[in-house]
Symmetry: C3
Amino acid sequence: MNIEKRIEELGITLPAMSAPAAMYIPVKQLGNTLFISGQIPMRDGQMVHPGHVGEDVTLEEAQEAARVCVINMLAAVRYYLGDLDKVKNVVKIQAFVSSRTGWDQQHLVANGASQLLYDVFGDAGRHARTACGVNQLPMNAPVEIEAVFEI
Amino acid sequence: MNIEKRIEELGITLPAMSAPAAMYIPVKQLGNTLFISGQIPMRDGQMVHPGHVGEDVTLEEAQEAARVCVINMLAAVRYYLGDLDKVKNVVKIQAFVSSRTGWDQQHLVANGASQLLYDVFGDAGRHARTACGVNQLPMNAPVEIEAVFEI
Amino acid sequence: MNIEKRIEELGITLPAMSAPAAMYIPVKQLGNTLFISGQIPMRDGQMVHPGHVGEDVTLEEAQEAARVCVINMLAAVRYYLGDLDKVKNVVKIQAFVSSRTGWDQQHLVANGASQLLYDVFGDAGRHARTACGVNQLPMNAPVEIEAVFEI
């Protein structure tokens, strides 16, 4: 794999990262496993499509937001590893979707994330997944996604 | 342990599985750890007791649904491993319960899953657990359960 | 590190634990990884600040509750290990915050947990984290926190 090249081919620019200052961090390593903090769809300091899916956010907007979560996740992992080619497998993601009660297509939102991980990493990007709705996410995010990667 | 025999004694028939076609998969292995995707209580192509617990689903129905989630989980693991006797430990489950706000017995719903895992695997089936309520699950599932197994 | 001493310096008394009787358990070990069950803020048999944050629980109360979750987590790990100095790293926490829809400061609630883990374990206590809101937690808990530790 040449993941950096693949990301470029997909027309994706990963945002710049700076060293975390907080008592929690974007990536923590345990052996060859990376635990990646829940990512929200911030882009250039703005929340992409804030609100609740099925109410003020459409399915398509939420899928785009899920994709931005993955872009932020990849940026965090690249910052941590220096090079995304060190990623051996995407192991698992968990997608929380801020949802109007009664709107039940959270799995389709999560597809926006899963598709991009597959596009970037190929078969190594196929992962276990849980998608569920919640009534509220931090900073009114429409989606939040955490992950486990193998390096 | 002879897990296959134990499942038979419990009168449980695991559903047939077919190869996953999607960019996410039911089971992903990292070393000797299996991460199992969130399971919903589909049986014969139908959702078992769809809706919200404390509203249109009773505690007893939700416990039955949690049990069906575990049956689907075991089917996924058997399909992946070929043989459930390769399971060394149930490490952890996370149970999301679609709940009416104000109904707060999610832990009792999760007991339906925990009991079956214990019945099947004995002491090796005792696991760490988190149960929480959510306002909505995909396809109006009443419960969704993900897991980590050791092989 | 001398964690027991550090806990004492912080003025924290960990509650006594007894052997788990259920089919689920507070801590399950896989290799050098501890998976710790979701902790709720019970103190002396009472729920600390029950209810929904942004409605009947303030941010400050929820942060205190998050801190109690961590105290219970440390008690469970100490009971399991015999000695908290065996903890090598706090790897990850997941914080579920019972929230009024529209109240979106769950990350600030989680800070109550993250700060205490950092105060106790120092740099080893810096962790990956996900915080999200939910509409209901078991026994009307305001916060529930699960964790992964390395030993």
